[in-house]
């Protein structure tokens, strides 16, 4: 097992390198953020931008170098730099947004914001999905099964931006009826609120309810279908039939024999779902103003902020790869038929 984990971790390195090279080239080739910055400045000041400022901008953002050199500097920090770049030295590079925007700080704080959002949503969606999947399978082809199946497909078919907007408007109307602001529609907490982890969590509850519901319903549908299929397969297996033939009570068969085995696919899917959600909550974050990783990546891509995009690619890549690894390990732990050499 240890050898397997080490081998998988080592394999992550070329995967991440490949991903970063591809993204770096894609973002760098299609953008010229310095020109855009110059235009913005001239729009703002109403006056021409001095050449010395343009030169300083290019130099500070390393746009006075070619793409291969920029990538090398970003990765290693070796060469003629301003001392603010080099992943291997723990420096993420300058952001096009300005020197006050520290990419490392942004990524680390936004990681927790996104985690706060997707953790509850993923746990809740998996919980509901297991329940719905099991009920659907046990009551196969019943009215309950059809209702749950319909709801599952309904939420699966709804675009998340539409579902988000719908729930947001619903929250506003509910607030009106209640005469309060229980549901907040934008942001992840009270502006400027400071406190310890628990206080921050409590403060964020009014902001958390609606986006969590949206993410949960958007994510639950697919998992519930997995769970239903898995449960049905197990229920029709020989050992479950044998247990029933031996006179074991139905509830015991379901709980001890069927459900335990039927949970394996979902249990192994969970880390993957969580890691995927970490990088993919872009739409929900945008709609509800959560300044997490998703929004950060969207802004960085729109602005052509290469080093910020790279930071996001790296972090989300690592999270996804770790999710896949945990998922693979869980397979081995939960399913005795699988052995890692």
């Amino acid at each position: 097992m240890v050898v397997f984990i080490i081998r998988r971790i080592l394999l992550m390195i070329p995967v991440l390198l490949g991903a970063t090279i591809l993204c770096f080239v894609l973002v760098d080739v299609v953008n010229d953020p310095v020109q855009d910055k110059i235009f913005e400045i001239s729009q703002s000041t109403g006056e021409p931008v001095p050449q010395s400022t343009i030169d300083a901008l290019e130099s500070s953002l390393y746009y006075d170098r070619g793409i291969p050199e920029r990538y090398w500097i970003w990765l290693t920090g070796i060469g003629d730099t301003n001392g603010d770049i080099g992943l291997l030295q723990g420096k993420w590079g300058p952001s096009i947004e300005g020197s006050a925007m520290d990419i490392g700080y942004e990524i680390s704080t936004r990681f927790w914001i996104t985690l706060r959002l997707v953790l509850f949503a993923t746990i809740a969606s998996i919980g509901i999905a297991i329940l719905a999947g099991v009920v659907s399978a046990v009551k196969q082809y019943s009215r309950t099964d059809y209702t749950l199946t319909f709801l599952g497909f309904l939420f699966l078919a709804m675009p998340i931006f539409w579902l988000g907007s719908l729930f947001k408007e619903g929250a506003v109307q509910l607030n009106k009826i209640l005469g309060s602001t229980v549901f907040q529609t934008y942001g992840s907490g009270t502006t400027g609120f400071r406190g310890n982890g628990w206080e921050v969590f409590i403060d964020s509850l009014p902001f958390l309810i609606v986006p969590t519901l949206v993410l949960m319903l958007g994510g639950y549908a697919a998992i519930s279908r997995y769970q239903r299929a898995s449960m049905l397969e197990v229920m029709n297996s020989d050992y479950v039939r044998l247990a029933r033939a031996k006179g074991v009570r139905n509830r015991t068969v379901m709980r001890r024999h069927a459900l335990r085995t039927a949970l394996i696919p979902v249990a192994t899917f969970a880390p993957l779902a969580l890691s995927g959600a970490m990088g993919g909550a872009m739409v929900t974050e945008s709609i509800f103003g959560w300044r997490g990783l998703g929004v950060y990546s969207l802004d960085a891509i729109n602005a052509g902020d290469t080093f910020a995009v790279m930071a996001y690619v790296l972090i989300s890549g690592v999270v996804v790869l770790i999710g896949v690894l945990i998922s693979d390990i869980l397979y081995g732990v939960l399913d005795p038929r699988i052995r890692y050499e």
Binding site: V30, N31, D32, P33, Q35, D36, K37, I38, F39, E40, I41, S42, Q43, S44, T45, G46, E47, P48, V49, P50, S52, T53, I54, A56, L57, S60, S95, E97, G98, S99, A100, M101, S165, K168, E169, A171, V172, N175, T181, F183, Q184, T185, Y186, G187, T191, G192, R194, S286, I287, G289, R291, N302, A303, G304
Partner: protein, 577 residues
């Protein structure tokens, strides 16, 4: 009445509502923002209660605390820092310049014309909010930071150096500070120049020897870019802030201004997206916003909301179509004139901007806003923007162009083909492109519409990758620098590559007088020359919206200031019971 007739009447009623430019939620009584049409600087006034809090949304973020620098100079930073920044003054919604009462006792005076020498009188007790008075050193600090001179600030990246590079010396005597400019400085807008930014004493406290070491000067600028300002020269001081996200202000007890501040707290927070802002306002999460765009959906949402007021009016930028004088076909001024003549601007306005602002007017002057004392419409008489295809074709026919099989050919026999570029997220610009395409099809010109990803507008302009392009410029009341920026040969913002020696000479004349009225006369002559060059076709002042809770008073929009509605933040308040 048949069902489809009822639906038609309902649709008509909805359209009529959507076309209304301002109003108040469910209420049918006149809104106090309605008065802004006749009284732009005094509308929505009222008695203020003692105390209260306001949360105001900004529709985009900012990336630095230092407006001197290229990364910090944008409209959102200007709003975020409005409560504490030492601006010389600003224009009110009527276009009148108001000197910053917390810093200056009076408007600057011109004590000598050659070289231009300007004297500033500091307000008694004007200070940085930390017990230190504003002094001549602070004026010198700002000069060094914006000089563009490596011997004063090595490695600085000022957003502009137009004024800073022209300063010869700065001296002080008590509350009087005298700025002497170089011989080459002759701006009629000398009284509007920004002369202060950051506190020199804070730079010194941080160990920067900015007066003697140009590298330390740059390091001090970098420090101010990254550090949340604890100092303030304005009516408020920052209690808490995060760059690009929020600023929380509390009253500055040391403010030297006379306007009484009644609010206990003002919070600026970023909410991106018009829809998100409107929803947050309806949900009571914010008290107002003055985003830099508006659409019909927003107006509809605001109309249905109780307890809110809003107004849609021309904002701080103007839309225009520019032609690339370096392109294969448009290098011919006759073709440019014909293209502009064939474009129907009124039709464009009617199908785009008029949906959100029913009283919108076509813009007839590149430098002066409709209604300005210097405004003259130089476009209508030329036929440009009238959609007169016959007149356009006559021009081309006279110049040897030929229409063959419905396709316009140059005198050399080449079919004329053009592209039209626009930002992909700007719906009105896309529609403008389609209408231009239709207008020019009548002239036998094939126009290809090519959208631009929002982040690439600057590079498309900078590289001149267009034949025709629709974009916006800021429309502040100042005009002297604008003429040079837009049209002077070689200017980095002269994106269409216009090179007209006669126009360059006129621009030099605009910059060659200290008399504002005379400069305006000269600027208008330059506008006439640009019209003749058929280089840029103004459309409208881009509509924007201000939306506020009806519990607020003294809050109104201001097109003439980058701070928009926050320009008079000291006067903001919650209505007295």
């Amino acid at each position: 009445m048949k069902r489809h007739h009822i639906a038609a009447v309902a649709a008509l009623a909805c359209s009529a509502l959507a076309l209304t430019a301002c109003g108040r939620g469910d209420d049918t009584t006149a809104s106090s923002l309605d008065a802004c049409i006749d009284d732009p600087a005094g509308c929505n006034s009222g008695a203020r209660a003692d105390g209260g809090e306001i949360t105001w949304a900004l529709d985009s973020s900012w990336a630095s605390w230092n407006q001197n620098t290229s990364e910090g100079n944008n409209a959102y930073a200007a709003v975020a820092l409005v409560g504490m920044w030492p601006a010389t003054g600003q224009f009110n919604p009527e276009g009148e310049y108001i000197v910053n009462e917390g810093v200056f006792a009076s408007a600057p005076t011109l004590v000598k014309e050659d070289p231009v020498t300007v004297e500033y009188t500091l307000q008694a007790g004007a200070n940085w909010g930390d017990g230190t008075d504003i002094s001549v050193d602070d004026f010198i600090y700002h000069w060094y930071a914006t000089s563009g001179d490596a011997s004063l600030c090595e490695g600085c990246d000022p957003a502009n150096i137009t004024r800073g590079s022209q300063v010869e010396s700065i001296t002080g005597d008590g509350s009087k500070v005298t700025v002497t400019y170089k011989e080459s400085y002759h701006s009629a807008e000398w009284q509007y120049e920004e002369v202060l930014s950051e506190p020199a004493h804070v730079a010194e406290e941080q160990g920067f020897d900015w007066q003697n070491d140009p590298k330390d000067m740059a390091a001090a600028e970098d420090y101010f870019s990254k550090t949340v300002p604890t100092w303030s020269t304005g009516p408020f001081k920052i209690e808490d802030a995060k760059v690009g996200e929020h600023v929380i202000y509390v009253p500055n007890e040391d403010w030297a201004g006379e306007t009484e501040v009644t609010l206990d707290k003002v919070t600026f927070r970023v909410i991106e997206g018009l829809d998100n802002i409107t929803t947050a306002l309806r949900n009571g999460e914010i008290d107002g916003a003055s985003p830099f765009s508006v659409n019909a959906e927003t107006v509809t949402q605001l109309q249905g909301a109780a307890g809110l007021e809003y107004q849609v009016a021309g904002g701080p930028s103007w839309e225009h179509i520019d032609l690339n004088t370096q392109s294969e076909f448009l290098s011919d001024p006759v073709l440019r004139q014909a293209v502009f003549t064939a474009i129907d601007v009124e039709n464009i306005i009617g199908r785009t901007y008029a949906y959100v602002q029913s009283d919108i007017e076509r813009k007839g002057n590149h430098l002066f806003r409709n209604g300005s004392e210097y405004y003259t419409d130089y476009l209508s008489a030329t036929g440009q923007g009238t959609g007169d295809i016959e007149l356009a074709y006559d021009m081309l026919d006279e110049a040897g162009y030929k229409l063959e099989d419905g396709v316009l050919h140059t005198p050399d026999g080449d079919p004329v083909e053009l592209d039209f570029r626009y930002s992909e997220s700007k719906e009105n610009r896309r529609i403008t492109g389609e209408l231009v395409q239709s207008n020019l099809a009548d002239l036998g010109i094939d126009v290809e519409l090519k959208s631009i990803p929002d982040a690439d507008l600057g590079s498309v302009l900078g590289e001149g990758e267009f034949d025709m392009i629709d974009f916006g410029w800021s429309s502040e009341p100042t005009f002297v620098a604008a003429a040079s920026q837009y049209w002077e040969t070689g200017s980095g913002s002269n994106f269409g590559g216009l090179s007209d020696p006669a126009l360059d000479a006129l621009i030099a004349e605009v910059n060659g007088t200290l008399d504002l009225d005379e400069a305006a006369v000269r600027a208008n002559v330059a506008v006439q020359q640009v019209v003749q060059d058929a280089y840029s076709l103004p459309i409208v002042d881009t509509p924007v919206v201000v939306m506020v809770s009806d519990r607020l008073v003294n809050v109104r929009d201001n097109w003439a200031s980058q701070q928009r509605a926050a320009y008079n933040i000291a006067e903001w308040g919650v209505a007295a019971e």
